[in-house]
């Protein structure tokens, strides 16, 4: 059973009174019942709350009030987004049973637009991973092929949208955690410009990189959701002081005259599957056909992205995750003194990948090593920004693969963290730059699984990025 209608169509039908939000929610809850036992995309289904909220939307329509652009559309939420009174685990034992006393700004905005929070989705613990296998609550499976991973860390949200359990979902992207699972599950996934979307209520992994982003089945649906969640938030000092970008109104403006660059270092490199690189060239040709000019471009510093990222992100994580100490909330393992309680709680509560990154980050910030590791990584970050800006001097948008391959099998990379890390090699550079980027499904590999094209744009370049994504989507059909 699938729900074919797009989010935009569903919202239009609910606003017009043609369909009830309650009925839409019930249909999606039925899909969850049918498919989630196998896929395990959800950690917590908010059936009662979703139905109650749907009834409010229906009442608004009956009273002649407009519930908003997401009227009645179920939205799945990655379980790093705080939801008042609803368990928020971050995929970790250390937060098992924790119910936040407040709600993330993005969730408030979704609800204010008539969207229905339908459940909390599975993820790699604290968003650290690329396959959703690092969840303390068991892995999520890829709806296209349950023997494969859905990607990560927002694998639950990608799978929920891919399987029709929710037309829309929110994920978070620190080094590719929206884009890479979107590519693996064959859906659209957006990493907005850093600061476009409020992080208030998003449980931090690496604060200077984390962004909330939409998953959807179409580029237009992703645009609607980004318009809803974007824009300045007084609760987040790093949020850009601008209203949400207008995307839908420009979506069909076409790509005629746009200059598109295919990033050599992220496309033609060793480790990128040939069929994936070929798909990027195909997408480039499709854009050319639509009126764009397409060339290869070199962005040299991107080759250092992975190394810099694995110092900066763990460094910030080591600090962000210090608060899980057993004192105030979440798991507590008692000890003879405070330090023992801290250590035993963290030992029992964190999984191996989280511990690995905390140790790595702590080391990178230590006295005597700070400049060599964290300092150098920050300088590399500056170089990456500089090289991207140089490229954007000649190109409106850039293209590359989203991931080096199609979805891999469960357990294929769990034994080798470095190999797992390489899965984000194409997405990390734009994260470090703070730029916008998104995945658009384009074709399939020999295994029949989806391939994703990554469209990259400069800071606040979402409008042009979405136009290009729309053209690629059109060409893919």
């Amino acid at each position: 059973m699938t729900v074919a209608a797009s989010a935009t169509e569903l919202a239009a039908a609910v606003r017009a009174g043609e369909r009830s939000a309650r009925e839409v929610v019930d249909e999606h809850l039925a899909v969850i019942d049918a498919r989630d036992p196998e896929l395990h995309a959800f950690l917590h289904v908010m059936a009662d709350e979703a139905r109650a909220q749907a009834d409010e939307v229906d009442a608004a329509v009956r009273d002649g009030r407009d519930p908003g652009p997401l009227a009645g559309v179920p939205v799945a939420l990655k379980d790093v987004l705080c939801t008042r009174g609803i368990p928020t685990t971050c995929g970790s034992r250390i937060l098992e049973g924790w119910r936040p006393p407040y709600t993330a700004t993005v969730v408030d905005r979704v609800r204010a637009a008539g969207g229905i929070a339908i459940g909390k989705t599975n993820l790699d613990e604290f968003a650290m991973g690329s396959s959703t296998e690092n969840s303390a609550y068991g892995p999520t499976r890829n709806p296209r092929d349950p023997s494969r991973v859905p990607g990560g860390s927002s694998g639950g949200s990608a799978a929920a949208v891919g399987a029709g359990m929710a037309p829309l979902a929110l994920g978070t992207d620190t080094g590719g955690s929206v884009r890479q699972p979107a590519a693996f599950c064959g859906v659209v996934g957006v990493k907005p410009t850093y600061g476009r979307v409020s992080r208030y209520g998003l449980v931090a992994f690496a604060s200077s990189l984390d962004q909330v982003g939409p998953f959807a089945n179409t580029v237009a649906d992703a645009a609607v959701l980004l318009e809803v969640i974007g824009g300045h938030d007084v609760m987040d000092s790093t949020s850009v002081r601008q209203p949400a970008p207008a995307l839908l109104s420009q979506l069909d403006d076409g790509v005629d005259g746009l200059r598109v660059g295919i990033v050599e270092e992220l496309t033609d490199a060793d480790g990128i599957d040939n069929e994936v690189a070929a798909a990027i060239d195909d997408a480039g040709r499709a854009l050319e056909k639509a009126g764009a000019t397409v060339d290869r471009v070199s962005v040299p510093a991107t080759t250092y992205g992975l190394s810099a990222y694995y110092l900066i992100a763990p460094a910030e994580a080591s600090s962000n995750l210090a608060r899980y100490d057993g004192v105030r909330y979440g798991l507590r393992i008692d000890g003879r003194d405070t330090a023992t309680m801290n250590a035993e709680t963290r030992d029992a509560g964190f999984g191996p990948e989280v511990k690995r990154r905390i140790i790595l980050g702590t080391y990178a910030l230590s006295a005597g090593y700070y400049d060599a590791y964290y300092g150098t990584a920050q300088r590399v970050r500056t170089l990456i920004i500089r090289d991207f800006e140089r490229a954007y001097g000649s190109f409106d948008v850039l293209l590359s693969p989203t991931a080096p391959s199609t979805a891999f099998a469960l357990d294929a990379k769990t034994a080798n963290p470095l190999e797992m890390y390489l899965s984000d090699v194409c997405t990390i550079p734009s994260s470090l730059a703070g730029h916008a980027a998104m995945n658009v499904p384009f074709g399939a590999g020999a295994d029949g699984l989806p391939i994703g094209v990554q469209v990259l744009a400069p800071s606040l370049g979402e409008p042009v990025m979405f136009r290009v994504a729309q053209a690629i989507e059109a060409a893919a059909q």
């Binding site: 407040y102 993330a104 604060s207 000092s237 790093t238």
Partner: protein, 489 residues
């Protein structure tokens, strides 16, 4: 008492870190109230509790206060300063890191003049306060405690840490520095500066070096001094401890020591090896602090007169002693009170005498703030006028003041009600004296026969009788003159 370098062969070198709680309405990074003494864990929210997903938002008012501190201490305020995370595990620190400033503080490189000497200010930076831990059982000591409770009301309150250069040379100067700094922070309205309530906390870095040496000795950080008195005692103790070690040929261990007020000793808290590696890095949740020209101008134009300038002005304009000006300005609000009384027409010296005498005594005794005094400044001016025009003697005026401080009455009202105006009628007082002299012929004879000492004694006796007869309201100067005339002085 501190001992000078030449006397002992050692020079004391002290640098002070003063933590001052800023008196903003709300906390540094959230909207919770900045109050003292509320029920535990009532002024808290997701942000100051550091709940997962919460983010800090900088209180603009705290930045203004920091700029005031910078102005008052003649500091440079760089275009941009940034916040950093100071990472260490402590249960009263909700995020297990403190948002502070590290290599780019908001204020750098200033000075404070203390008794004619400039003490350098290395930096002053903003940071958030921690919560408070209460150890239950075991007499409140951490190691014997049964369990601990944490109150996060204080977590996230705005602090400024003001770090002096190692320019201070003894305990006395350290106390004078803190006292001057406290007056300054109070005058510019950024802090309540109450050491007892913890809104002003002082840590000291102390070392000794041979007199005349250039190189600094190994420094020891001393913490937990809760008053100016304990600062003085702790420094004296620590200097003596270090000198005895050095003179015995031992080395000073670089460490943090705790001042034990009851025991009057410092004891080792942690050694250099046990010191935390704070792993500072730029706080990614906040943007740089970049006060714009408009804010800087607003702060500059709203700076009040600073205590040193004010003292100098009062000394010059009122002709009072430096020490009197210091006493006057060391009580919050008393300087303003005196200036208002002078503005109401009273002679400055009289105003200062009353303010630093009876009024200050009353304030100390009653614990009242100047603003709560029942007698307004122009009331004091009225009292001074009543003395000047001879209506009241000074002792009578003291009584009248005491009454005006008990209930809101004007001095003239009290005089009228009690009919205690001074008697200055020459005829009346002359008749009175004639009667007294006639009633005590032996005393008159003894006066006339006596030497200087005896005469003085008898004079006092006659004056006393006259005051007794007038119930204290006889004009003493007039009585003295009339008596002298009658005794053929």
């Amino acid at each position: 008492m501190s001992t000078t370098a030449t006397a002992t062969g050692w020079e004391t070198v002290v640098g002070l870190e003063v933590h001052c709680e800023l008196a903003t309405v709300t906390k540094l990074f959230c909207g919770c109230a900045n109050t003292f003494g509320a029920e535990p864990n009532t002024n808290i929210c997701p942000v100051c509790l550091g709940l997962p997903g919460s983010l800090p938002v900088l209180n603009e008012r705290a930045v203004e206060f920091a700029l005031r501190v910078g102005e008052a201490l003649h500091c440079d305020v760089p275009e941009r300063s940034i916040f950093a995370r100071k990472n260490y595990f402590y249960p009263d620190m909700p995020k297990d890191y403190q948002i502070s400033q590290y290599d780019t503080p908001i204020c750098v490189d200033g000075w404070l003049e203390v008794d004619g000497t400039r003490v350098g200010i290395e930096r002053a930076h903003m940071e958030e306060d921690t919560g408070k831990t209460l150890h239950v059982g075991g007499g409140g000591r951490i190691h014997e405690a049964d369990h601990s409770l944490v109150d996060y009301n204080r977590a996230g309150l705005p602090l400024m840490e003001i770090v002096s250069r190692p320019d201070i040379r003894d305990a006395e100067q350290a106390r004078a520095y803190v006292s001057e700094l406290r007056g300054l922070l109070e005058a510019i309205g950024v802090s309540d500066v109450k050491m007892e309530e913890g809104s002003l906390r002082v840590d000291a870095n102390v070392s000794l070096r041979p007199a005349g040496a250039e190189e600094f000795g190994t420094k020891v950080e001393v913490k937990n001094m809760n008053s100016l008195r304990s600062l003085g005692h702790a420094l004296d103790y620590e200097v003596t401890r270090q000198r005895e070690l050095l003179e015995a040929g031992e080395r000073i261990a670089q460490e943090t020591r705790h001042w034990d007020e009851d025991g009057g000793v410092t004891s080792s808290l942690r050694s250099k090896e046990e010191a935390f590696d704070y792993r500072y890095f730029p706080e990614p949740d906040l943007v740089p602090v970049a006060p714009d020209a408009e804010m800087r101008a607003r702060v500059q134009s709203s700076m009040p007169e600073l205590p040193a300038a004010r003292r100098a002005r009062l000394v010059a304009d009122w002709g009072i002693a430096e020490q009197d000006a210091r006493v006057l300005l060391s009580t919050p609000g008393l300087g303003e009170y005196a200036e208002a009384a002078v503005a109401a027409g009273a002679a400055p010296k009289d105003v200062v005498n009353w303010c630093t005498g009876d009024l200050l005594g009353y304030l100390n005794e009653s614990g009242l703030a100047v603003g709560a005094l029942p007698l307004a400044p122009d009331g004091l001016a009225e009292l001074i006028e009543l003395v000047a025009d001879g209506t009241l003697s000074r002792p009578l005026a003291k009584d009248v003041l005491a009454e005006c401080l008990l209930e809101p009455k004007r001095p003239r009202e009290v005089v009228d009600e009690r009919g205690i105006a001074q008697v200055s009628d020459e005829g009346e007082l002359g008749d009175l004296l004639d009667g007294i002299l006639a009633a005590h012929p032996e005393d008159v004879a003894e006066y006339r026969a006596g030497d200087e000492k005896a005469r003085k004694k008898k004079n006092g006796f006659f004056m006393g009788e006259a005051m007794k007869a007038t119930k204290g309201s006889g004009n003493p100067q007039l009585l003295a003159r009339l008596l002298k005339e009658r005794l053929g002085g």
